[in-house]
């Protein structure tokens, strides 16, 4: 049986890493990358507005039919080809839409009219994160790309919340405090102080060698798949952890107060150190069933400020051009206010992208005056109410996999999307 076929079978079996040991799964010392550089990009960041954002107050403005109380249709602003809702007059902190679109409009790809298909947090979060509504086994895009591109990086997939399933492909790493990384960076020294090693260096070498020999000897042993998988992962985790030393120089001396900025700092330091491939950043409380406008006017600017923080810091670290940024929420909000001045769940929404390989200053798809999706022609990306398709998360994820050039990777093949070829949004990111 050919290796690829075998892996496909394993994948469809949900075996994940439970593959024959001849298939390298994690770096096991021999496969470890040059520790002086590590993973060099692209770096993938998924921003999640957890709880369901109001797209009509951001990239899909309406101002009609009493959809928005804070502005009218005539107040809608434009930046290049993008339309957005004005909000500078209604926010106290964070980044206004005006500032955000002015600064990033030329880089932004907006897709309006995304059909989440359902409107409950849990399935929607899963669907948006993985592209698969009806399976708990699929990995998130962030986890998948981490597994495909750099599973031997010690913090390959960083997550700060929201749906974070890994498909058994790569461990998820949670790093709540950046400073804690500095202590881990020198795990073989007392209190992380390199001048106080626990052991003489030759002892450490002997220990590592013994573990290496043990790991090799196990490859000829008959083991349960779970045992095999977990021993492989454990060994890789310990070996790869040494690369955390590279993070230390990039740990900022001060910690920002904003939630997303804190997460961004951890992600950026890890990217720059080559120990991370993807990060899932998230802030919550968007679920504005009560008092929609005050909540969204508080959270959207905070969210945009977090994106701006990441991009700005990435520029300083000279990795901005290596970023691929996905900006999303698990659902939208109704085109009407409820009795509590809130807005409830809505199964049509939007998503934004920017970064390497993404042609900005573009809008794909649309919603109508009542915030219903208008189908699009997948080839031309133009709206086509008659013959177009309803764009759903699996279309987005298929395109993302192609953008990341992992669509043909063994791991991706384990978790396929069944989309007719003619529905592929081949030009989504390039525009050409």
């Amino acid at each position: 049986m050919k290796r690829r076929k075998f892996i496909q079978l394993c994948g469809s079996a949900g075996l994940g890493l439970a593959m024959p040991i001849s298939v390298p799964l994690y770096a096991d010392g021999e496969n470890a990358k040059n520790e002086s550089t590590g993973y060099e990009g692209p770096y993938y960041v998924v921003f999640n507005a957890s709880g369901g954002w109001d797209t009509t107050y951001l990239m899909d403005p309406k101002g009609i039919n009493e959809i928005n109380r804070l502005y009218q249709e005539g107040d809608i602003l434009t930046q290049g080809t993008l339309h957005y809702a004005p909000n500078a007059a209604h926010i106290e902190t964070g980044m206004s839409n005006e500032d955000f679109f002015k600064k990033y409009g030329h880089e932004l790809l907006v897709l309006n009219g995304l059909d989440y298909s359902v409107n409950n947090h849990s399935p929607c979060s899963r669907y948006m994160a993985t592209g698969k509504l009806d399976s708990l086994a699929y990995p998130t895009f962030a986890a998948l790309v981490a597994a495909c591109k750099g599973a031997d990086a010690p913090l390959a997939f960083l997550t700060f919340g929201q749906y974070s399933a890994t498909g058994n492909l790569v461990p998820m790493a949670r790093v709540p405090y950046l400073n804690s990384l500095s202590k881990l960076a020198n795990a073989d020294a007392l209190h992380g102080n390199a001048r106080s090693p626990y052991h003489d260096s030759f002892v450490v070498d002997r220990i590592e060698e013994a573990l290496n020999q043990q790991n090799k000897s196990r490859k000829s042993q008959v083991r349960l798949p779970r045992v095999q998988r977990s021993q492989s992962m454990l060994y890789a985790a310990q070996i790869n952890s040494k690369a955390l030393q590279r993070v230390t120089p990039y740990i900022p001396k001060t910690t920002p107060k904003q939630r997303l900025s804190q997460q961004a700092d951890i992600a950026l330091a890890s990217f720059k150190a080559g120990v991370c491939v993807s990060a899932n950043l998230s802030i919550g409380q968007f679920d504005s069933h009560n008092n929609n406008d005050p909540d969204q006017m508080k959270l959207l600017p905070e969210f945009l400020a977090g994106i701006d923080y990441l991009m700005t810091k990435a520029e300083e670290l000279k990795i901005r051009e290596k970023l691929v940024v996905v900006i999303q929420s698990e659902m939208g909000r109704t085109p009407k206010y409820n009795k509590g001045n809130g807005k409830d769940h809505w199964s049509i929404g939007s998503i934004m992208f920017m970064g390497t390989g993404i042609q900005g200053n573009r809008v794909v798809g649309a919603t109508d005056d009542k915030l219903f999706q208008i189908p699009i022609n997948p080839a031309t990306l133009k709206t086509d109410s008659e013959n177009g398709i309803r764009v759903r998360p699996e279309h987005i994820h298929t395109a993302l996999r192609e953008l990341a050039q992992i669509d043909d990777h063994d791991f991706s093949l384990q978790f396929p999307f069944v989309i007719p070829e003619e529905e592929h949004l081949a030009r989504l990111f390039s525009g050409a």
Binding site: A13, L15, D115, S117, V118, N120, P123, L133, D134, L136, A153, P154, L155, F157, G161, P171, M172, A173, R174, V175, P176, N179, K183, A185, A187, D188, L190, Y198, H199, F202, V203, R206, I207, A210, L211, Q213, Q214, S217, V222, L224, P225, R226, V227, S230, M233, L234, A237, S241, L244, V275, T334, N338, K339, G340, D344, W346, S347, L371, F372, Q373
Partner: protein, 789 residues
């Protein structure tokens, strides 16, 4: 809008019923006088069959027709109580005892055969019906271009002789799922159990008892003892918090007591008389008082679980208990301390709990909660303020989150797990004034979900007793449970009414066994495979059914033993699934690997478990993975019960670094210390001193080997022989370190200042053996055997 809840619920219930037991599909070879309707498969089987009273396997019908189409599609309506119960095509669930399953499967096969070979215009009635023709009551249930259709078509071709019928391969009996697997030794099992449930190593008596080999009885006796120990209840509470997450409700703990009902008592600690304490210490004492009070009230739901299990009460009390657990501190918060104080053994112990009933709550306006008993209508966890606050609601959510969590926690149904899509959910929302009561796609679900939500109507968004002033919503289905309306006179005790029905629901026992499975295995039970195009579908189904069979059997035993949860622990521990530890024969067959994929406990220890294991082995915890100030707890995959609610199952690089840090540090703190103890008191090195040098003599090497064997036993739980490859490897590590040290220049003849100093005395280490043993212990602490369960 919740889409298709009823379908999910009914499908899950049905699947649960269908998959209740065995996976072995065989059918009896019928007697010759009963072959009128038999197809070519049967004839082929007969012709090749030489003996009576045995069974011929028809894997094609069992694995393809039945498993992928019949059971999943046809049986939903074509059963004796289903929508198609008046048709002649009445199928049977392949459940129950093995023999019953065989009979049911064969009856189903005969029906399928008859239907497949009956023709209308030369087309199979089976295919026509399935695709909605011939006035099929269920319309089109199989699309022509689908895998299901191809399976039925293939079956028709085989049944009608257009294709070769059963082949030898098709009739091969399956390898038993547990073939070539190995169970762990009784001694290792004993260690696993005592560490997992009681945070300790087995005693010598327990080892002896197991060695005497009266098998399961010995294990049962040990478990009986273990389940009386306090450590077991710590583990039990921790495990159930992983499920219910009640420790994670928002705000200071006392906030669960509403201002309206407890405004005079809930902040009692602020005015508590601390005059016996010197004034300079009073502020600190008050902080402690508040902290203890908060911890005590937050812990009440988990203490209820402990109380039920510790006292062998039926675990149905989880939803029916007409009491809560209070401590002297939390009782003050409720304002009932004076009534109870004589019942406490130690009124100053914030964590001594006793059961009690709250009187009906009295609001600030003087109005007392309606109650025919005079008491608050307790119904176990369901009516606890902590639980209700942990799962809050909103004006638009209308307790649907509580309803969802109710199904998940107490009936084992995760409504949101596999939400089906609708063509255009937004359009449905807009088309109907009230989709949840009008849109067919919504109604089927909300008719089940919303009545439960209604039963929680007396509780507001924060979990306080506080019915809506406007009355409960009339634009949603009324309060009830699965088709039974709540009688008006029961409204004051609606959650008690629900609790009683929950306890009587067969899904309750199964759900509780699944919770115990989660606590023991660290992962949820398998889900049924959904994708019939998956080439591993049958392998996954087989693994799933095997596990389902166990869960079902244990649930039955749990129920038969008056819902004693200890029985669920004991039966699951006694199972093959818990004890399988290895393979005797390698396989490269993906199907077989799929079947084996979930076998074996193989669980990465949580931060709490790892600390307890370190304490069990070394006598004290490492102390850096747990505790309020721990910066490593979340980093090592722990949860905060609030925003981080799922434990990491695999180690990241950060966790790998923590493992290295822990192994270095624990070895640093324990090796030198152990050598300074009297040999009889040593945990790690009872029979060797640091003056024993490798290769100095055969006797010296033997002593070192024995020391290694002891370390493997106590740290890894392995009874390795002296010539075991792993013992040889560890021995070699020790010898190599000593050799390297000897060859190196400038090596200090004393141990390290940081690690090899005891009572401020830096130990001599002239031959580097002390440090080499520390290296060995570090090495062992990094092993899979130590870090995993």
């Amino acid at each position: 809008m919740i889409v298709c809840l009823r379908q999910i619920l009914s499908a899950k219930s049905l699947l649960f019923t269908l998959f209740l037991s065995n996976w072995l599909f065989v059918f009896p070879l019928l007697a010759a006088d009963n072959t009128e309707n038999q197809d070519t498969d049967d004839k082929h089987a007969q012709s090749s069959h030489r003996g009576p009273n045995c069974f011929i396997v028809d894997n094609y019908f069992a694995d393809e027709v039945w498993a992928k189409v019949g059971e999943r599609t046809c049986l939903k309506c074509h059963n004796e109580n289903g929508d198609a119960s008046d048709s002649e095509f009445i199928l049977q669930a392949t459940t129950g005892k093995e023999q019953d399953q065989k009979i049911s499967l064969e009856k189903n096969r005969q029906l399928f055969h008859q239907m497949a070979t009956a023709l209308n215009d030369e087309k199979s009635r089976l295919l026509l019906k399935a695709t909605g023709k011939l006035d099929h009551g269920g319309s089109e249930v199989v699309k022509i271009d689908s895998s299901s259709y191809r399976i039925l078509e293939q079956y028709f071709n085989r049944a009608s002789g257009k294709l070769p019928a059963a082949t030898a391969d098709n009739q091969q009996p399956r390898t038993p799922l547990f073939a070539d697997t190995e169970k762990m030794s009784p001694r290792r099992l004993l260690r696993r159990v005592t560490l997992s449930l009681a945070a300790r190593l087995p005693t010598e008596d327990e080892y002896t008892s197991i060695d005497l080999a009266d098998g399961p009885k010995s294990l049962d006796r040990v478990l009986d003892q273990v389940m009386q120990e306090d450590a077991f209840y710590d583990r039990l509470r921790e495990g159930f918090n992983d499920i219910f997450l009640t420790q994670g409700y928002d705000g200071n703990a006392e906030i669960v007591l509403s201002y309206d009902h407890f405004n005079k008592t809930r902040l009692w600690y602020q005015k508590h008389d601390l005059s016996p304490i010197p004034e300079k210490d009073q502020q600190k004492a008050r902080y402690k008082l508040a902290g203890d009070y908060r911890a005590s009230i937050r812990r009440e739901p988990l203490k209820l679980i402990e109380h039920i299990v510790r006292n062998d009460h039926p675990f149905t009390e989880l939803v029916t208990a007409d009491y809560i657990m209070v401590s002297p501190y939390s009782a003050r918060g409720y304002g009932i301390y004076e009534k109870l104080k004589d019942q406490f053994k130690d009124a100053n112990d914030p964590h001594e709990y006793i059961p009690t009933k709250l009187p009906a709550l009295k609001a600030r306006n003087g109005k007392t909660q309606k109650s025919e008993t005079g008491f608050y209508p307790h119904s176990g966890m369901l009516s606890m303020f902590q639980y209700l606050r942990r799962y809050p609601t909103t004006e638009t959510n209308r307790n649907r989150l509580r309803s969802r969590m109710y199904y998940q926690h107490f009936l084992g149904v995760d409504i949101m797990q596999l939400a089906p899509r609708v063509a255009d959910a937004a359009a449905v929302d807009a088309k109907f004034d009230n989709p949840t009561m009008q849109a067919p796609g919504c109604v089927v679900c909300h008719t089940t979900l919303d009545p439960i939500a209604g039963l929680f109507q007396d509780y507001d968004k924060d979990g306080y007793l506080g019915p809506r002033k406007e009355g409960w919503y009339t634009d949603m289905f009324g309060s009830g449970f699965e088709g039974e309306d709540l009688p008006d006179q029961q409204q004051w005790r609606s959650l008690q009414w629900l609790g009683q029905r929950t306890a009587n629901d067969p899904r309750f026992a199964t759900a509780m066994v699944e919770h115990v499975y989660y606590i023991l295995f660290g992962r949820k039970v398998l889900l049924p495979p959904e994708d019939i195009d998956d080439p591993m579908f049958n392998s996954k189904r087989r693994a799933y059914l095997e596990q389902r069979s166990l869960i079902s059997q244990v649930a039955q035993q749990f129920k038969q033993n008056d819902f004693n949860l200890k029985v669920a622990f004991k039966k699951l521990i006694a199972s093959d699934l818990y004890q399988i530890d290895g393979l005797a024969l390698a396989s490269q067959d993906p199907s077989r690997l799929t079947e084996l994929d979930d076998l074996g406990l193989v669980r990465l220890l949580t931060p709490e478990q790892l600390e307890r294991k370190i304490e069990a082995v070394f006598g004290k915890q490492w102390g850096r993975l747990i505790g309020r100030e721990s910066k490593l707890h979340i980093l090592y995959g722990g949860i905060d019960s609030k925003s981080v609610t799922e434990r990491a199952l695999d180690p990241s690089g950060a966790m790998g670094a923590i493992q290295r840090m822990m192994s270095n540090d624990v070895a640093c703190h324990n090796v030198a210390l152990d050598f300074t103890r009297d040999p009889s008191q040593r945990l790690l090195f009872p029979k060797i001193e640091i003056d024993v040098i490798p290769a100095a003599s055969p006797e010296a090497d033997q002593k070192i080997q024995q020391a290694v064997v002891h370390l493997h036993k106590i740290i890894l739980g392995r009874d390795h022989s002296i010539d075991h490859p792993e013992v040889i490897r560890t021995h070699q590590l020790f010898a190599d370190i000593v050799k390297d040290a000897k060859a190196a220049e400038g090596i200090d003849k004393r141990g390290s200042y940081s690690c090899d100093r005891v009572n401020d005395v830096r130990l001599d280490d002239p031959d580097y053996t002390l440090r080499a043993w520390r290296g060995v212990v570090t090495y062992l602490l990094r092993q899979h055997d130590f870090l995993y369960e």
